[in-house]
Symmetry: C2
Subunit: 201 residues, 2 copies
């Protein structure tokens, strides 16, 4: 029984959003129609703008509607000799939130995955290589995900850095701060043992 | 640090969706940009279509892009002498899913709430009254929510039905089928005692 084809289409379109199943898509559609049509129209406008105009930064490959993103265009950032390599633009956002890092970034937009046919050029490593060759970079911080693919990708890039005599470092993996030891999985816990550090007095 | 104003605007616009906080809005925006821009543009289109073209059925007030919704326009439904009153269009969807009801509907788009200044005319009761007066309706099934306001609204409409010598019934409230007794709240449990029925052999 199709009560409103337009409503059904909206509900089905909302399911393109990650984590949105049939029930919540329905709830979203009814909510917008009943309470906030202006917000629905505004969302439509922003979706159009973003999907059509956001591209990738020519230097770091993160999302931006400009040639060069605001981080890469920042003079203070340019004078840093650190480059942090991440898998996705969302990782930059997370790292920026910490306020701990003030260097530049490079976004792979994925990771090496030979079985899926994803090789070095698919994750922008030619561009990274040319940056390592031409810019004054002292340290490359490898902040890819702590997965098999993320680790393999980090190792591959570490070898590239070695060719250019650039220090490659890997972010520490271990027990999350504030977490309880007994809740942490075994792999993480063994990482936290291997990566243990001497307490200095 | 604004990396991409368009991206930030999209993330903030996504928060108009119920149940979407800052973290999931961000995840949705990145997902669409990285994996499925076509779906993002399609969603924008469907949002525009729905927000601009979906209105309310002139007979039952549910959402529809036509004058009269497909349920009200259905000849078999018109020959039914039952009218089911619900608070929101989503309730029709839920009742239709059960396959138990084949009569007509009336959508209040809310409930009586004197403290918020919501009176009978705000929930379409003039229209309902004219339908009770002019159509051949034998039973009005009151399926408003089992809340204080929903109950009060049901009682008010039951009195209207009485003026027209139309039977008013209230849907049963009780322990959900498949639920565990000990998980049910006290009010529901006492409803299920008051509404107990004799087992016929
Ligand atoms: Zn950049
Ligand atoms: Zn209708």
């Amino acid at each position: 029984m199709q009560i409103s084809p337009l409503l059904e289409s909206l509900i089905s379109a909302l399911r393109c959003l990650p984590g949105v199943g049939p029930k919540s898509a329905q709830r979203m559609a009814y909510h917008l129609l009943q309470r906030n049509r202006q917000a629905g129209l505004h969302l439509a406008h922003e979706l159009n703008e973003a999907m059509n105009n956001i591209g990738h930064c020519k230097a770091c490959r993160t999302f931006t509607e400009q040639e060069i993103c605001t981080i890469c265009a920042n003079v203070r950032r340019q004078s840093s000799d650190q480059l942090c390599v991440v898998e996705s633009p969302a990782d930059i956002f997370a790292i920026e939130q910490t306020g701990q890092y003030s260097g530049r970034y490079f976004v792979l937009l994925g990771h090496l995955s030979p079985l899926d046919g994803i090789g070095p050029s698919d994750i922008g490593l030619d561009l990274l290589k040319s940056r390592l060759a031409s810019e004054s970079i002292h340290e490359v911080i490898l902040a890819t995900n702590p997965t098999v693919e993320g680790d393999a990708t980090a190792n591959y890039i570490a070898q590239m850095c070695n060719e250019f005599n650039i220090v490659a470092t890997r972010i520490a993996h271990g027990v999350p701060v504030g977490g309880e030891l007994e809740m942490v999985d075994g792999t993480t816990l063994s990482h936290s043992f291997v990566g243990r550090q001497k307490i200095d007095f």
